[in-house]
Point group: C2
Chain length 283, copies 2
């Protein structure tokens, strides 16, 4: 299972699959995906890893977050030559800390089973969206991940609308279209909670298509402001393409908080299922 097709590098006896847990404040970052001339999480992280390990590193990620979106529980993987891993693995977290900007952190680096795939093994993704309708604006110490909402919202109405969206549906109305990609997803949770001025939306799904969480929250805020009835977001599920009626809320309120994976001996089976279904980019 050591990827026998790969060339064996000097000093190693094959490749090790490595799982990285990643957290970032996305404010100053142009999203996950590497882009020339822009600071991105993938770009910074691959550069930091290559600098410390002195080999090129190519990361695969669970959730390709957009510009401005944050993460506390992002997951990525890469393959490293055995010799490199043996030499650097034990001190890698601390050494990355010394190289990365403080808006990106790697809380954990660990050897994973060869079948582990950060993207295709994932069973579910969990996001949190934070907005406040307090006229005083976001709490200063949480302003990076809390959006100030200019009008009061009814969190009860938002929760009612959210409940009608649960389950397996074609979320085309809430997705930025990608050629040939499916927009059928299973929405496992969409909870709305108020604590003082802070309204938090918890969203969980097997996977989200592009801009889906921010479109779902956008539809809920239209209900929360009383501009739409609670039945409206669910009624959009009959549409086959993105609806321009659905506002997309600002990126800064969104945080990827967790990615779920099966136990080790079910990783290969899960990846087979996901890859087979992947006319989409589950991220």
């Amino acid at each position: 299972m050591q990827h026998p097709d790969e060339p064996v590098p000097p000093g190693g006896s094959g490749l090790v699959r490595v799982r990285l847990d990643v957290a970032y404040d996305g404010t100053a970052l142009h999203g996950w995906a590497r882009q020339p001339g822009q600071r991105t999480v993938q770009g910074d992280l691959e550069q930091a890893l290559s600098m410390v390990l002195r080999v090129p590193v190519d990361l695969t990620v669970a959730g390709r977050t957009d510009a401005g979106v944050h993460a506390t529980g992002q997951v990525a993987h890469c393959d490293l030559p055995q010799g490199v891993w043996d030499e650097h693995g034990p001190r890698l977290v601390r050494r990355l800390r010394g190289v990365l900007s403080p808006d990106i952190a790697v809380p954990s680096v660990a050897e994973a089973p060869p079948d582990f795939d950060a993207r295709f093994s994932a069973l579910g993704r969990h996001y949190v969206y934070r907005l406040t309708d307090d006229p005083a604006g976001p709490p200063p110490l949480r302003r990076a991940d809390t959006v100030g909402w200019p009008r009061p919202v009814d969190a009860g109405a938002m929760a009612e609308a959210a409940g009608l969206l649960l389950g397996e549906h074609d979320f085309a109305a809430f997705c930025r279209r990608r050629e040939g990609a499916t927009t059928i997803r299973t929405l496992l949770a969409l909870d709305v909670a108020r604590d003082g001025g802070l309204v938090t939306v918890y969203a969980s799904a097997d996977a989200f298509c592009h801009s889906m969480v921010r479109s779902l929250v956008g539809a809920l805020t239209a209900v929360g402001e009383g501009r739409r009835p609670p039945e409206w977001p669910a009624a959009l599920l009959s549409r086959t393409e993105r609806s321009s009626d659905v506002p997309v809320v600002p990126a800064g309120g969104l945080t990827l908080v967790r990615v779920d994976y099966p136990v080790d001996d079910e990783l290969a089976a899960r990846a087979l299922v996901t890859r087979a279904r992947r006319d989409a980019s589950p991220a």
Copy 2:
């Protein structure tokens, strides 16, 4: 009780005492107290209030925090002409939001009893200090108020040392000296809790003298690192001046989270007691 000695401004019938609840990310601020040529909370806030209200405003604060220290529950007061308060009070929170930088917020502005004094009526101040000894460093979204600690600390030993400091003592060893000021304080709580890499110290007292919380936490970290026994911080209570053995931890980990006040009809009595004891600046 409307401060009869004050001149009555046109359009008003005396002065109203106003309580402001204030929150700030202290990272870019040179502390509470107004200073020429520096951004400070008092300076920014008085300027914002004067701009909105078109009268000069002079704030009195519960805790004069140092440069870099944060607050989620700071309290200040000022006196405003009745006519100005009547005209602007109801929309003041929202209007301040439009004028202040996002690192300062005023969650609440309310009329207070004439006897209310943000500084002298206060019964207790509550601070939180956050540090992490996780080799990955502070969580990116909480890096403003969490200090990365370079060595592992034993939170159990810190808690043991903390317990020995409770009660009324002369905290001279932990205070930056001010001429003629008492350093006798009642430490009501000093709790240490670990959650993963995060170590949080909760400190409550009737009042803290200058740099006291950061010196107490500094003494605890010396114990946490094993450089001093748990009995050491309490042994310093016998000293009559600041001990250079006590490290002062960085300002960025410290947040003023709450100030306690008595019920309204005990405000005057409390202020009398505090003023009588005030050879110190209780802040």
